[in-house]
Symmetry: C2
Subunit: 83 residues, 2 copies
């Protein structure tokens, strides 16, 4: 079966996110004064061929740990749906 | 009330995603042969002060259209939850 893994990779809470800070500081200049903290990370979609949702999740987790995320600075969250 | 907007900004379906392609081609070298298409975009979290979920969605949409997304090359999806 084909599954889609939606993965969010975000900078860890405790770490500075200079890109997010810069974007946050630009919000008032486009007329938005009600936006506080901004954090920017990556959204990755993988198309996975697997027998079950659990197997697809396992594959996505291996991809995150070995390649996609830098676990020293980032955390990841995976959600799986059928394609 | 405080809301969190989770925004996914992805390259449009019809466009090449060279970053995704490169990552996809690296998957077999970490032992994953069951991953097909890979697409990479941005995940942005905004903290929004608003009276209602609808107002928070409106704010996030303005931020996407004016600043966060390049609508020629990217599409965005917003989901709002209470902080």
């Amino acid at each position: 079966m084909k599954f889609i893994a939606d993965i969010n990779i975000m900078p860890l809470k405790g770490l500075l996110d200079p890109q997010g800070k810069a974007v946050g500081h630009s919000m008032p200049s486009i007329g938005l004064n009600n936006i506080g903290d901004v954090r920017i990370g990556k959204h990755i979609q993988l198309e996975i061929d697997a027998d079950s949702e659990a197997a697809a999740h396992e594959t996505a987790e291996v991809a995150c740990r070995k390649l996609l995320a830098n676990l020293i600075m980032e955390s990841f969250h995976i959600s799986i749906r059928q394609a």
